[in-house]
C-alpha cells in the first residue's frame, strides 16, 4: 500500500535563512530581468540588429516585465545613438497640393522655421519701405511722366491740328469727339446747315481724318499704358529683388549644406517677387470677412511658414515612442482641415505627424492587440515598414467618404525599429495567417510564464523585490516576507520548482502588504503581512467558493467524506474565476452491465463534456478492454457521470477517478469516500500529472475540515505532481498531525489499493483472486462475456430453427 507523503513533500517553502540581508533596503536595484535570459538575449539582439525588417515581437504574459525590459533595453540603446534628422514640410509653390518634405540635421528644423518667420517679418518691413522710398517714387514718376507726356503731347498736337482747321477736340462722356467751331463755340446744326456744301464736305472730311488720327492716338495711349504697366512691374521686380535678394542669399549660405533648403529658398524668392503686392498691402488692408479663421498675422503669407513636423532639438539620442492609441492617423499622421466659408480647406501647415514620424530614426513600441484592433492601422504599419517610407493618405478620401481639397504630402523615408508587445497567441496567429508578418517582424522575444526556482534566481528575485519596493515606495521587505512572496510566486506558477513571472500580481500583493505593515506601524513588510495580504486577496475573491462549499456541507450537493460506496468516487474539479482558482469535490459514479464494450460518457452525450474529457473516457475504456478482455469479447456496457454538475466538464484530470468508479462498479468493490482522487490515466494504467494540484487538495481538505478531520481523509494525486505541491500551512499541519493525508500514486493499481483497501492483484480471471481488485473485475468481465456468448448461442439456434421452418413451408 502506498504510504502518504511526508509533510516536507507537501510544499516547497523558501528558506528565509538563505538570505543574508535583514530587509531589502540593503539590496541594490536589479537591472536585468530575473529568469528570462532567452527573452532578454532575443530582445538585445533584435534591438541591436541594425537592418531593415528586423522588427520585434515581444510575447509573453502581462506582468512578466516584458514592457519594462523593452523600455530599458531600447532606452540604453537609444541613449547612445545619434539623433535622427528633423523633418519639415514646406509649401510647394509649383504644386501646392504636394507639400515638400525636407530633411534637416537635428535642431535645424526649429531654426529654419524661426529663420523663415524672421525673413517674412523682415520682408513685411523692408518691401513696403523699398516701395515708399524716394528712389522708387522717382523711378515710377519718371515712367509716369514719360507716359503722361506722350499722352498729353499726342492729344495736344491733335487738338492743335484740329484747332488749325477750325475744329475742336471735345471730351464726351464716353470718349472724344470733334466739332466745327464758330467764334470759338461749337457750331450749331443750323449754322452748319447754312454752310456751303463744299465747306460742309471739307469739315466732315477733315473731322474724318482727325478721327482716324485720334483713333491711332487712343490705340497708342493704350499701348503706352500697357508699356507703362510693364515698366512699373519690371521696376517692382527689381525693387523686390533688392529687398529680398540679400536676405534670401544670407539664408542660402546658412543652409548651404542642405540642398533642398537652398532650392526651397530660391522658390521662396521667386514667389515673393511674383506676389510682392501681398507684402505691400499690410497697412490699411481690408479686414477679413467674419468667420474666416486667421492663422498667423497674414493669411496669404502662411505659405512661407515652415511646418516643423519632427523636432529633435531637445533630444539626447534616438527617439523612443510608445503609442497608447495606435489608430491609423496616430501612426501615419494626418492632414487636418479647417472650415472656411462652409468649405473644408487645408494646406501644408495642417499636416500633423504620426508616431512613425516621431519615432523615425529610433524605436516605436506598440501594443500588438491594440494596433490589430484599430481599423486600417495594422495594414498601414506594415505598408510603411515594407515601403520604408511614411506616406500620409487620407482614409476618408481613399474610401470616397468626403469630397474636399486634400494634399499629397511628399513621403518621408522611414527607418524605425518597431517593437510589438503582445500575447503569444497573437504572435502565432500572425505567423499563421499574415504572410507579411514574418517578413517584417523577424525577431521574437518570448517571455516565459515562470522561471526556475534556483538559489541564484531566488537571490535575484529578492533584489527584484527590493527594486519594486523602492520604485513603488513600499516599505522594505524582511527576509521572511521575501520568502513568502517567492512562495506566492511559486503558488501562482502552480509549481513548487518554479516562480511565476507575473510581477504585476506580486506588486499588487506587496501593495496590500505594505498597507497592512504601515497600519501596524511596522518598519518593514514581514512574512505575516504578506500572508495576511494573500489571505485578504483570497477572501475578497472567495464568494463563489464559499457558496459551493456551503451547498456541500448542507448536503445539497452530495459529497461523502466517510463510509464506502460501490461505483462512486470523489473527484476534484477546479473553478477558474479570472485570476482566482479554487477546487471542490465532485461525485463521479459509474454503472456497468452486459453490453458490447462501450463506455457511455453521459457528459458527452448531453454535450456537457469537452473534447479532452471525452478523450480521457475513451482512454480508460481502452485500458479496461486491453487489460481484461484481450482474448475474449469485451461484453461491458458502462455509464459514467459527474453528479450534480450543470456546466461543461473539461479536462482529463478526473479520468483516474472515473476509472476507479468503473472498476469499483465492475468488481462490486466499495470505495472509501474519505478519499478524493485526481489524475489522468493512459492506456497502460499509468497515472499522469494534472494542473492545480494544490488547489484540489485544499478544496477537499476544506470540506473535510469543516465536517471534522478523522485521520482517514486524504487525496490521491499523481506522483508526477509532487514537485508542484505548494500547500497551505494549515493543510500541512493537519498532515503532520496525521489528521489528513496526501498519497502520490504512479498507477491505477496503487490508487485502487488505497481506495478499496484490497490488493490490486493480477488482471486474470483464471488466476486472479477474488480478494483482489483486478481479480474481481476480471471475473465479472468473464461472466459478462459468457453471458453474451450464451445469449448469442440462443439467438443463433432461434435463427436456424426459423430457417428450417421456412424451408419446410416453402418445400
Amino acid at each position: 500500500m502506498t504510504p502518504p507523503l511526508a509533510p516536507a513533500e507537501l510544499t516547497h517553502r523558501t528558506d528565509p535563512a538563505q538570505f543574508a540581508f535583514a530587509t531589502t533596503a540593503e539590496l541594490a536595484d536589479v537591472q536585468e530581468l530575473v529568469g528570462q535570459p532567452r527573452a532578454a538575449r532575443a530582445l538585445e539582439f533584435g534591438v541591436a540588429m541594425d537592418r531593415d525588417r528586423y522588427n520585434l515581437f515581444v510575447m509573453g504574459p502581462p506582468g512578466s516585465g516584458r514592457r519594462s525590459l523593452v523600455e530599458r533595453v531600447i532606452a540604453e540603446r537609444a541613449a547612445g545613438a545619434a539623433r535622427p534628422p528633423d523633418w519639415v514640410y514646406v509649401n510647394n509653390f509649383a504644386e501646392p497640393h504636394r507639400p515638400v518634405a525636407i530633411e534637416l540635421p537635428p535642431g535645424q528644423g526649429v531654426r529654419l522655421r524661426a529663420d523663415m518667420r524672421a525673413l517674412v517679418e523682415e520682408l513685411q518691413a523692408t518691401i513696403p519701405a523699398v516701395f515708399e522710398s524716394e528712389e522708387y517714387s522717382a523711378r515710377v514718376e519718371a515712367i509716369d511722366a514719360d507716359f503722361r507726356e506722350r499722352h498729353e503731347r499726342s492729344f495736344s498736337e491733335l487738338g492743335a491740328e484740329a484747332a488749325g482747321q477750325g475744329i475742336a477736340l471735345l471730351r464726351t462722356p464716353g470718349g472724344f469727339s470733334f466739332a466745327p467751331l464758330k467764334a470759338g463755340e461749337v457750331m450749331s446744326p443750323d449754322d452748319f446747315g447754312r454752310l456751303p456744301e463744299a465747306e460742309q464736305q471739307r469739315i466732315e472730311s477733315a473731322i474724318g481724318a482727325l478721327q482716324s488720327k485720334l483713333e491711332r492716338s487712343v490705340r497708342e495711349v493704350l499701348r503706352w499704358r500697357k508699356e507703362r504697366q510693364e515698366r512699373v512691374k519690371t521696376l517692382n521686380r527689381e525693387m523686390t529683388l533688392l529687398a529680398v535678394g540679400h536676405l534670401v542669399d544670407e539664408l542660402k549660405q546658412r543652409y548651404a549644406g542642405a540642398p533642398r533648403v537652398v532650392s526651397y529658398l530660391e522658390a521662396v524668392k521667386a514667389d515673393v517677387i511674383e506676389n510682392v503686392d501681398e507684402f505691400r498691402r499690410r497697412e490699411g488692408a481690408l479686414p477679413l470677412p467674419p468667420g474666416l479663421p486667421v492663422r498667423g498675422d497674414e493669411p496669404s503669407l502662411r505659405r512661407y511658414e515652415v511646418n516643423l513636423l519632427v523636432d529633435h532639438a531637445a533630444d539626447g539620442g534616438a527617439p523612443v515612442v510608445h503609442v497608447d492609441h495606435p489608430t491609423y492617423q496616430n501612426l501615419v499622421g494626418r492632414v487636418d482641415h479647417i472650415a472656411q466659408f462652409g468649405t473644408l480647406m487645408t494646406d501644408f501647415g495642417l499636416i500633423k505627424p504620426g508616431a512613425l514620424h516621431r519615432a523615425n530614426g529610433g524605436y516605436l513600441v506598440i501594443d500588438a492587440a491594440k494596433v490589430l484592433m484599430q481599423p486600417f492601422a495594422w495594414e498601414a504599419l506594415k505598408r510603411a515598414l515594407a515601403r520604408r517610407e511614411i506616406r500620409i493618405e487620407s482614409l476618408a478620401e481613399q474610401y470616397s467618404l468626403v469630397s474636399t481639397v486634400s494634399l499629397e504630402p511628399e513621403p518621408i523615408p522611414l527607418r524605425v525599429k518597431v517593437i510589438l508587445i503582445g500575447e503569444r497567441i497573437l504572435y502565432y496567429l500572425l505567423q499563421r495567417y499574415d504572410p507579411d508578418f514574418s517578413q517584417l517582424f523577424r525577431v521574437a522575444a518570448d517571455f516565459s510564464d515562470e522561471f526556475e526556482r534556483s538559489p541564484q534566481n531566488e537571490q535575484q528575485y529578492a533584489r527584484l523585490l527590493a527594486t519594486v519596493a523602492r520604485r513603488e515606495a513600499f516599505l522594505p521587505l524582511d527576509r521572511v516576507a521575501v520568502a513568502a512572496t517567492i512562495d506566492f510566486g511559486a503558488r501562482l506558477a502552480g509549481d513548487g520548482k518554479k516562480v511565476s513571472a507575473d510581477l504585476r500580481r506580486v506588486v499588487d500583493l506587496l501593495g496590500e502588504a505594505d498597507f497592512l505593515a504601515r497600519q501596524a506601524g511596522a518598519a518593514a513588510i514581514s512574512g505575516a503581512h504578506v500572508r495576511a495580504a494573500i489571505e485578504a486577496q483570497r477572501h475578497r475573491a472567495d464568494r463563489l467558493r464559499e457558496r459551493l462549499h456551503e451547498t456541500i456541507l448542507r448536503g445539497t450537493v452530495m459529497i461523502d467524506t466517510a463510509g464506502e460506496r460501490v461505483g462512486q468516487v470523489n473527484a476534484l474539479s477546479v473553478y477558474e474565476l479570472g485570476e482566482y482558482a479554487f477546487a471542490e469535490p465532485t461525485r463521479v459514479t459509474a454503472t456497468t452491465r452486459l453490453g458490447d464494450g462501450h463506455v457511455i460518457d453521459i457528459q458527452r452525450e448531453v454535450r456537457l463534456g469537452g473534447a479532452i474529457h471525452s478523450k480521457g473516457v475513451l482512454i480508460l475504456a481502452s485500458f479496461l478492454a486491453a487489460r481484461f478482455s484481450s482474448n475474449r469479447p469485451h461484453a461491458l456496457a458502462a455509464s459514467l457521470v459527474f453528479e450534480q454538475t450543470y456546466g461543461t466538464v473539461e479536462g482529463d484530470s478526473a479520468s483516474l477517478a472515473e476509472l476507479a468508479a468503473l472498476l469499483s462498479s465492475l468488481g462490486g468493490i466499495p470505495i472509501r469516500q474519505s478519499l478524493a482522487v485526481t489524475g489522468s490515466v493512459n492506456q497502460h494504467g499509468e497515472v499522469q500529472a494534472i494542473g492545480a494540484v494544490s488547489e484540489k487538495i485544499e478544496g477537499f481538505y476544506d470540506i473535510c475540515a469543516a465536517r471534522g478531520l478523522t485521520g482517514e481523509q486524504g487525496v490521491i494525486i499523481p506522483a508526477a505532481n509532487v514537485e508542484h505541491l505548494m500547500l497551505r500551512e494549515d493543510v500541512i499541519d493537519a498532515c503532520r498531525a496525521g489528521r489528513f493525508r496526501v498519497y502520490a500514486v504512479r498507477t491505477v493499481d496503487e490508487a485502487m489499493e488505497l481506495l478499496t483497501g484490497l490488493a490490486a492483484g493480477a488482471a486474470d480471471a483464471v488466476s486472479g483472486s477474488l480478494q483482489t481488485v483486478n481479480g474481481r473485475v476480471a471475473h465479472r468481465l468473464r461472466e459478462l462475456a459468457e453471458l453474451r456468448r450464451a445469449a448469442a448461442g440462443e439467438s443463433r439456434q432461434r435463427f436456424r430453427a426459423g430457417r428450417r421452418e421456412r424451408r419446410g413451408r416453402d418445400g
Partner: protein, 263 residues
C-alpha cells in the same frame, strides 16, 4: 458772426472727378467750409451731338459710334449720379456738409458766374487723366489722389495770395502732405522778401512741412511746369485779377492737377 466759407467745386464731363472732389472736400474740412458742387452740363456737347455727322470715339476701346443728343443727355445724367455718390463717400468721413446742383451752359463761364468772390473755387479738367498715385494704395484710404504729393500754393504778395496760402496750408495739413509755396520773383532779393512775407502769412496756421520755390513769372505754362516738376496734388491760385473764365481755362488746362482759385 463770420459767414462760413463756401467751397465751390466745378464738375463736368471733362473733369478729373476724384482728385477734384477730394481736393474740394479736403479744403472744406480744413476750413470748416460747406461744399457746393456744381455740375455743368456742357452745352457745347449737346450742340455737337445735334450735328448730322457727330461721332464719338470711345475710350479706351477706340470704337467709333454715332451719337445723338439723347445719348449725351443720358450719359450726363449718369455722370451726375456718379458725382453724387463720390461726393457722399468723400464728404461723409470728413463730416463735411455738401450739396450738388446741376446747370447747363458753358463750363468756365457758368462756374465763374456761380462762384462768389469769397468762395474758393476748385476746378480740374483735362483731356487726359492726371498722374495716378503710387500703385498698390488701398482704395479705402482717404485722399488717394493727394497721397505723397505736395499741395502747391502760388504767393505773389497780394491779399488773395495770403488767402490762397492759408487755403493751401489747410489742405496740406488735412491730407497729410507737404506744402510748396511758388513765389514769382525776378531775383533772390524779391524772392527772399516774398518768402518772409509768405512765412509770416502762414505762421499761425499750424505745423506743415513747407518749402519755397522761386518762379520766373506767373504764366500758366510756367506754373504748370513747376507743378509737374513737383508732382503737385493740387495748385492753389490767388484770384488777384478777378475770375476771368478765359484765364481760368488757360490755367486749368495747363495744370496737371486740380486748381483752387482763392481770394
Amino acid at each position: 458772426m463770420a459767414e462760413r466759407v463756401r467751397i465751390v467745386v466745378a464738375l463736368d464731363t471733362a473733369s478729373v472727378v476724384v482728385p477734384v472732389i477730394e481736393t474740394a472736400a479736403g479744403l472744406a474740412a480744413s476750413l470748416d467750409a460747406t461744399l457746393d458742387a456744381l455740375f455743368v452740363e456742357d452745352e457745347q456737347l449737346l450742340r455737337l451731338a445735334a450735328l448730322p455727322f457727330a461721332h464719338e470715339l470711345e475710350f479706351p476701346t477706340a470704337r467709333v459710334r454715332r451719337i445723338e443728343p439723347a445719348d449725351i443727355e443720358r450719359a450726363l445724367r449718369g455722370q451726375v449720379e456718379q458725382a453724387r455718390r463720390l461726393l457722399a463717400a468723400t464728404a461723409a468721413p470728413l463730416a463735411v456738409s455738401w450739396q450738388l446742383s446741376v446747370v447747363r451752359g458753358d463750363v468756365m463761364r457758368t462756374v465763374c458766374g456761380y462762384a462768389a468772390p469769397s468762395d474758393l473755387l476748385v476746378v480740374g479738367r483735362s483731356l487726359a487723366s492726371y498722374p495716378s498715385p503710387g500703385a498698390g494704395q488701398p482704395s479705402t484710404a482717404r485722399f488717394t489722389s493727394l497721397r505723397g504729393r505736395p499741395v502747391l500754393a502760388l504767393f505773389d504778395g497780394s491779399a488773395a495770395a495770403s488767402e490762397a496760402l492759408r487755403a493751401g496750408q489747410g489742405l496740406a495739413r488735412v491730407a497729410g502732405v507737404p506744402l510748396v509755396v511758388l513765389i514769382p520773383a525776378a531775383g533772390p532779393e524779391p524772392f527772399r522778401r516774398l518768402r518772409e512775407q509768405a512765412a509770416a502769412a502762414a505762421g499761425s496756421a499750424g505745423p506743415t512741412a513747407t518749402s519755397y520755390v522761386m518762379l520766373p513769372d506767373l504764366h500758366p505754362g510756367t506754373v504748370a511746369r513747376a507743378a509737374r516738376a513737383q508732382t503737385a496734388a493740387a495748385l492753389v491760385w490767388p484770384a488777384s485779377g478777378g475770375r476771368d473764365p478765359s484765364a481760368l481755362a488757360a490755367i486749368v488746362e495747363a495744370a496737371p492737377c486740380p486748381v483752387v482759385l482763392a481770394g
